[in-house]
């Protein structure tokens, strides 16, 4: 085969591969796209048969949703997720730094706790928290949710930030100590400013995990502290099947997550494998 013919065949193969991948991508995304489209359809269009691909988009579903109590649950989701993330960072970041610098002889139990707390089925935490909250009066409160989200957020922060700190050379803070900085200043003035991107990525992952939670919020809240994933589902149970609102609610719940995930896509897998991979 001449080199030109070979190059031609390689280019043809590549085009074929691209076509295949694009078709697959569309196929994979279809269920997702369908839900988003549905959120802009009128009820008649949703039940149209055959389904309408071209339709006049409407914002009525979103308007109806926002007029309902859904907007309070959206606010709850935001407050709870942000608070739990900040709290976890406050406790976890210094801990992760210490863990990265300390000579810890037996850190296997800690690794197991961190991995297992990310892996345990949520019901394992829900039963004891439910009993404790019933006694403490924390059921259906934002504080209750903020605390239970720490079960995964603290592990996530400690593990991710440790690997970021491991990547910061010790010589940096050692130089600062030689120049007379205190141990604490070495951390706050030298290392922490360098870890900005790491802290941001970690914070986003914590936020996404908290925002996505369904099980804890389902069990531990009724209406006061209900988060938006639970509120969307309630459109299925109590107010009949309002598909337009369900689709609009689903789209709104996923919007912040999609934006954030694209921002931190580099760290996604790392975060999901918390506890089991080297940073």
């Amino acid at each position: 085969m001449s080199s030109r013919a070979f190059a031609y065949r390689a280019a043809a193969e590549r085009r074929l591969l691209y076509a295949l991948v694009i078709v697959l991508a569309i196929l994979v995304m279809l269920p997702f796209i369908w839900l988003v489209l549905m959120s802009f359809k009128t009820n008649d269009d949703i039940f149209a048969f055959p389904p309408k691909l071209l339709f006049v988009p409407t914002l009525a579903n979103y308007a109806g949703l926002w007029a309902s109590s859904f907007r309070y649950s959206f606010l709850n989701s935001a407050v709870v997720s942000v608070s739990s993330t900040l709290l976890a960072l406050l406790v976890g970041v210094p801990g992760a730094y210490a863990l990265s610098r300390i000579a810890l002889k037996h850190d296997k139990p800690l690794s197991l706790i961190i991995l297992a707390s990310r892996m345990a089925p949520p019901i394992a935490f829900t039963i004891p928290y439910f009993l404790a909250y019933r006694w403490l009066g924390l059921l259906d409160t934002r504080i209750g949710l903020i605390l239970i989200y720490l079960t995964f957020n603290v592990s996530l922060v400690v593990w991710l930030m440790r690997s970021f700190f491991d990547a910061c050379p010790r010589s940096l803070e050692e130089a600062a100590w030689v120049d007379g900085a205190s141990l604490w200043q070495g951390f706050t003035r030298i290392i922490l400013p360098l870890s900005g991107p790491g802290v941001a990525a970690t914070a986003i992952l914590c936020f996404v995990y908290s925002w996505n939670d369904f099980f804890f919020a389902l069990i531990l809240t009724r209406n006061q502290a209900m988060t938006s994933p639970v509120a969307v589902v309630n459109f299925m149970n109590y107010e009949g099947w309002e598909w337009g609102k369900i689709a609009a609610g689903g789209t709104m719940v996923m919007l912040p997550v999609l934006i954030f995930s694209v921002l931190v896509r580099k760290y996604l897998i790392h975060g999901m494998m918390t506890g089991a991979v080297k940073g």
Binding site: L17, V21, L24, A25, V28, M29, P31, L35, F47, F49, P51, V91, G92, A96, A98, I102, L110, S111, L112, I113, I114, M119, A120, P121, I123, A124, F125, P128, Y129, F130, L131, L147, I148, L150, T151, V154, R162, W177, V178, D179, G180, A181, S182, L183, F187, N212, V232, M236, W243, I246, A247, M254, V257, L258, V262, L268, M273, A276, V277, K278
Partner: protein, 314 residues
């Protein structure tokens, strides 16, 4: 330690001596920083798990206050579990669900990773698109599939009817319900295995591939004899991660089938949820959950052994 403006070398000498002397102090300082994190981690994860172990030894029933701290027959829940047909069935459903979802996610993830493993800006962009199912809130995934599986509004049902193959409503059909969950779960999580495999592929040493090329291997041989053996480790870890995660399956089952029809899609996690929060048998449900936690711990420990406890392995 305030910084004063003395001669630079003097300061350096003193600083170095300080750093030496401070080694034990440094160790204490790190411990002080670590303690709050460890204390919180213990309080929010270990203590509740111990509490769960305690409640699993009682017949705790929320409707009967006297059962709260009744330790007269501590192992009764576990004895009951062994004879509980519904519990044993839930383990079997879980095994089927885990087996199929993990297998399919590995196969499809591998297929997509091999397709996407080319340096090209188009494929790079598509990788981000393939992330979507995995990062969506699980409840939204469940809603998406509820739409697909509801004949009135589903493009899937319409398409099948259009080509002359009308389908029953999958999630209420005894033959299809579990399959419907498996399909949705596979859709949600194949990007995870795909991304892990892609990451491993990017670190594959070029020499291996080049050497095989020089020996005249074609693309299929290259994949079979070079790439796949190289990926064995990452496939195993990905499988374990998905296996442990599959035990948590909840939103899909809650929204799509509610464990039904009958208890055909009732996995152990879901059965525990029903016992605790529909029947209010928290003691019994704790026992079910203890079994799940034990399985999780065992699998986590296995995973950590495989990857060398996280940080000491290159």
């Amino acid at each position: 330690m305030a910084t004063t403006l003395t001669a630079r070398h003097e300061r350096l000498l003193r600083g170095a001596a300080n750093a030496e002397r401070l080694a034990p102090e440094r160790q204490r300082f790190y411990w002080r920083m670590l303690m709050p994190a460890l204390a919180v981690l213990f309080a929010v994860t270990v203590a509740p798990t111990l509490f769960l172990l305690v409640t699993s030894l009682t017949p705790l029933d929320l409707t009967k206050p006297e059962t709260t701290a009744d330790f007269r027959t501590p192992l009764r829940n576990f004895a009951l579990l062994l004879e509980d047909r519904r519990f044993l069935n839930s383990l079997w459903v879980q095994a089927k669900l885990s087996f199929w979802t993990v297998s399919l996610q590995l196969l499809i993830g591998l297929g997509f990773a091999l397709l996407l493993h080319l340096r090209s800006s188009l494929l790079q962009a598509l990788r981000t698109v393939f992330l979507i199912p995995m990062v969506l809130p699980p409840i939204v995934v469940a809603i998406i599939w509820k739409v697909i599986y509801t004949p009135d509004i589903s493009p899937f049902h319409w398409a099948m009817q259009a080509i002359g193959l009308p389908m029953p409503a999958l999630i209420t059909d005894a033959d299809w319900a579990l399959t419907a969950i498996i399909i949705a779960d596979t859709w949600e999580w194949f990007p995870f295995t795909m991304l892990m495999i892609l990451a491993a592929l990017q670190m594959m040493p070029e020499e291996h591939v080049d050497a095989a090329r020089v020996d005249g291997a074609n693309a299929w041989q290259l994949t079979w004899y070079v790439t796949l053996p190289y990926l064995r480790g990452v496939l195993l870890v990905a499988a374990l991660f998905r296996l442990i995660d599959s035990i948590k399956a909840f939103p899909l089952i809650y929204i799509l089938t509610d464990g039904g029809p009958g208890s055909l899609t009732e996995v152990t996690n879901y059965y525990g949820f029903i016992q605790a929060f529909n029947f209010s048998f928290l003691g019994y449900s704790s026992a079910i959950t203890v079994v799940l936690v034990a399985i999780t711990l065992l699998l986590s420990w296995l995973t950590l052994r495989l990857v060398g406890w996280g940080r000491y392995v290159e």
